[in-house]
Amino acid sequence: MAQSNSKGPDKETMRNWYRQMVLIRRFEEKCAELYSAGDIGGFLHLYIGQEAIVVAAQSVLREDDNIITAYRDHGVALARGLSTKGVMAEMLGKSTGVSKGKGGSMHLADKEKRFWGGWAIVGGHLPLAAGIALADQYNGDDRVTMALMGDGATNIGYFHEALNMAAVWKLPVVWVIENNQYGMGTAVTRASAVADIAKKAEAYGMPCCMQVDGMDLLELREMFTEAVEYVRSGEGSFMLEAITYRYRGHSMGDPERYREAHEVETRKADDPITRWGKYLTDKKIATKKDLEAIEKSAEEEVEEAVEFAQNSPLPDPEELYTDVYV
């Protein structure tokens, strides 16, 4: 978890960001296969196309900062450093999964790493983020809480209630909107009264960064740095909107009647991983060979995780009754 300093990140760190993005993508491509094979059940929401956001966010957070998100949570889990094996085992509903197989794809979490969970009710995690931040403020800790959400989540009551309260109490939260253009099949302009979603921050007197290029790791890092510094200084909340695009359906089995195939193809041409790879080679931070080696090692990590998950036991039947109460 490299903290940026005045000299900027070293080459190793920059190559590692590439690896994180590739790992998330390969992991999810594998998940899609496993879903089709029936090894993963329930809902599966892929983050493919959005990887730069969480990797940039994570790169400016301290290890003891907080992060929380919605159901599209594999990227957060992996960027946060949860074990790839534990996450894959959760996908397969195994006892070795990060949530003991009880949560599945939408409910990854790791308390030790202060990843407070993927939450499946749209907007439901936003007041939780406020509360997590409240506890830190209350205890005099200078931690930052980062709350990620989709564009669609900004239209629900939870969002407005949580933001207002966070603003009134100057809670240390960075509210991150991952604007991937759609909430399921509903385009932003059909669901949100303002297309510049971060304008909603104005209603709560909150500073914001609008329309950050969510495909550009460096721009994202710059804005996240500003946001985190502001929030850590005790001034209160900050909002950041990243413009991005999800390449896959909302979840598996989405008929995608709401967009044309060529729209997806056009967007894919501006890929965050390809862009960052090009930056690295252009600036001679990595060679093509280096990148290939990184890709290979990420693939191997995913394969090992699958093997681990497949060989792991299912939860014991008695596990059904544990953890209902303390």
Partner: protein, 337 residues
């Protein structure tokens, strides 16, 4: 209209086989064609065609005025529908799944269910909240509820839970024509099921339980998906020489226990199957009614088959082990015999 005809609801006249999904879709379509005031609003009902494909083709045919995609805003979906209903329209508000109806609980309970009574009968709220319920699909704890009894707790609201295509179509049409707010709860695992549906128009009155299978040894009471489970159990019991009568409540409010009581006077034994948790559930209510009205007729205590008393986990086997199934029903039946 036939209301309590035995054995899978014998249907008169010409029929065709339809899925539960198609039957519901047809009901909506016919009512929208019949009455201009009927319109649909909800998440993904339009361009997407409904997340369970119930409203596929509606947006193109009826247009965006009558098939309205909403933001993700359950509180406002129901609240807006209540206002529109009070002011003369007949909204069918869709809540994508019943799990999200918790976000709209206040609008359902404090507005839809109270607007009439609280103002001395001045207002009517002719609206339907269509939603889908149930677990068993590995969707995890927040997305697998079957909380119909919660909604049935409140006077002023009807709660309808069909188990067959026939009932689904007839009840939905009745719900749309009813001047009271109706929560219409479909089961997410029943959409592909098939059954005979009349070609001619028909309605199924709200508030009439239905004997889905006649029998003489034990009465199994259920609703929604659990009726299917009960019928499966009854078919297996028959092979062992045990004759089970299966009663489908069809609506939890109004709750029609007349056929249940009549059946118990014949079988003297009862098992209730419910997908939700037993605590404060439908089984508890049915048992209380039996105590009141058929105490002397009972030869054994009522048994309840319900979900294990835990939130539903993701892992497949674990989740399945928590849900009621035919095997568990058979076991309960044998306990009361």
């Amino acid at each position: 209209m036939s209301t309590s005809s035995p054995a899978q609801t014998a249907v008169e006249g010409k029929t065709e086989v339809k899925t539960y999904r198609q039957a519901i879709s047809d009901a909506l379509w016919e009512e929208m064609e019949r009455d201009e005031r009927v319109f649909i609003m909800g998440e993904e009902v339009g361009v997407w065609g409904g997340t369970y494909a119930v409203t596929r083709g509606f947006y193109d045919h009826f247009g965006e005025k009558r098939v309205r995609d909403t933001p993700i805003a359950e509180m406002a979906i129901v609240g807006t529908a209540v206002g529109a209903a009070m002011n003369g329209l007949r909204p069918v508000a869709e809540i994508m799944t019943i799990n999200f109806a918790f976000l709209a609980l206040d609008a359902i309970v404090n507005a839809a269910a109270k607007a009439r009574y609280m103002f001395g009968g001045q207002f009517t709220v002719p609206m339907v909240i269509r939603t889908t319920t149930g677990g068993g699909r590995q969707l995890g704890a927040t997305h697998s509820h079957a909380p119909e009894p919660i909604f049935a707790h409140f006077p002023g609201l009807y709660v309808v839970c069909p188990s067959t295509p026939y009932d689904a179509k007839g009840l939905l049409k009745a719900a749309i024509r009813d001047d009271n707010p109706v929560m219409f709860v479909e089961h997410s695992t029943l959409y592909q099921t098939r059954g005979e549906v009349p070609v001619e128009e028909y309605l199924v009155p709200i508030g009439k339980s239905d004997v889905k299978r006649e029998g003489s040894d034990v009465t199994i009471v259920s609703y929604s998906k659990m009726t299917v489970v009960a019928l499966e159990a009854a078919a297996q019991l028959e092979k062992e020489g045990i004759s089970a009568e299966v009663i489908d409540l069809r609506s939890l409010r109004p709750l029609d226990t007349e056929p249940v009581i009549a059946s118990i006077k014949k079988t003297n034994r009862c098992v209730v199957v419910e997908e939700n948790w037993a605590l404060y559930g439908v089984g508890a209510e049915i048992t209380a009614r039996i105590q009141d009205e058929a105490f002397d007729w009972m030869d054994a205590p009522v048994k309840r088959v319900s979900q294990e008393d835990v939130p539903l986990p993701y892992s497949r086997e674990l989740e399945q082990s928590a849900l009621p199934n035919a095997e568990k029903v058979i076991k309960a039946v044998k306990l009361v015999l």
